[in-house]
Symmetry: C2
Subunit: 215 residues, 2 copies
């Protein structure tokens, strides 16, 4: 289940969706632009006054069909999130480190490249971070894992509410996104998420520290 192939997309309500942020949302510090068309992502971002940190999720569909709109958006984004095959497709670089650097050259300060069972890497111009995936012996349903990763990541940053987001904050944000996704795939649809407790999250985080630290 480590590869996804998009066979067909029905945008449904997103076809003519022009989101209007509810009152109060225009002053939020951490913005997550979910995986919709980059033109709609820009439309949402335009409604937020001076966000502190902007995360954008994207996918192969937008890379292929709305590349210019995505390129226009990237300089306004702090962190771009995408998976390994999309990073390769976007940059035509097979080596993921080079692909990550090529994406940074397009504008975002950071890029997180998700690798499914192999975890995730995070790059800036001068820093690099890599984490594995939480070990799962069976994956029930990968649907929504990418959204859960992005939501867990941005949710962690929101919860921190720091004046400035550092690379070390982003490391922990990426780990939280990855662990939230590891819960997501353990059951069908959102079944695991709706019965997830904060204690389970902090326990998985603690065990993941022991699985990742060595020095």
């Amino acid at each position: 289940m480590n590869k996804r192939q998009t066979l067909h997309v029905e945008l449904n309500v997103f076809e003519t969706f022009r989101p209007r942020l509810p009152s109060g949302y225009e002053s939020i510090p951490i913005v997550l632009l979910g995986n919709i068309s980059p033109e709609l992502q820009a439309h949402v971002l335009n409604q937020v006054h001076s966000p502190r940190f902007v995360v954008a999720d994207t996918m192969d569909l937008w890379i292929m069909t709305t590349r210019q709109e995505l390129l226009d958006l990237l300089p306004r984004v702090d962190l771009l999130v995408l998976n390994d095959s999309e990073a390769r497709q976007f940059t035509e670089e097979d080596n993921l480190i080079r692909a990550g650097r090529a994406i940074l050259a397009l504008g975002p300060r950071y890029v997180a490249i998700k690798k499914g069972e192999h975890g995730c890497i995070l790059l800036s111009q001068d820093r690099f971070f890599s984490c594995g995936a939480y070990p799962l012996e069976s994956v029930q349903d990968p649907t929504g894992a990418g959204d859960t990763f992005a939501g867990g990541l941005a949710g962690y940053l929101s919860g921190q509410n720091k004046a400035e987001v550092t690379f070390d904050d982003l490391k922990r944000a990426v780990v939280h996104g990855s662990l939230m996704a590891s819960f997501c795939v353990e059951a069908f649809s959102v079944e695991r998420m709706v019965r997830l407790s904060e204690k389970e999250i902090s326990q998985r985080y603690e065990s993941f520290v022991a699985m990742s630290h060595f020095a």
Copy 2:
């Protein structure tokens, strides 16, 4: 360069090789059984009196052609080293965590599964460790990376010379093996290794800690 396919093997001198350990070697504490036939690995191991820790490297060729000899060797091995495709082939499990557990059930106390650009995982019955690969923008020559991994790992354990090898020691051993392999692939053949300094190794280790730790 993340996949290797064996097209043809010429055993050459290994065809009729019956290694006889030099005097003094029969009392060494850390044994690395290099990637030769499991029957020859057993022949070498028989010459060592009460080793403290035995590492064995193996590959697809022995899994396919001398499976029973490999199965006979495994209960005498502390740590088996192999790559992801070989672990899947050996156990017929697609999920690497399940593949690792299936190998542990065959006798070794630990198994290290190498994943090329995706790093490495280490499993025991009740512990798990995962590390990424040192980020390289170009790989010149992957020849010998597996042998360098195993040698770096066993060399680290030898250098520690502890009365007992713990899981935490093995985490650092796996990281050292991985980093030594990252040097190996930076140049053709052994060119990078012969001009490698201890300072370069410790510097790469320190930067890899920063790339892997997050809490």
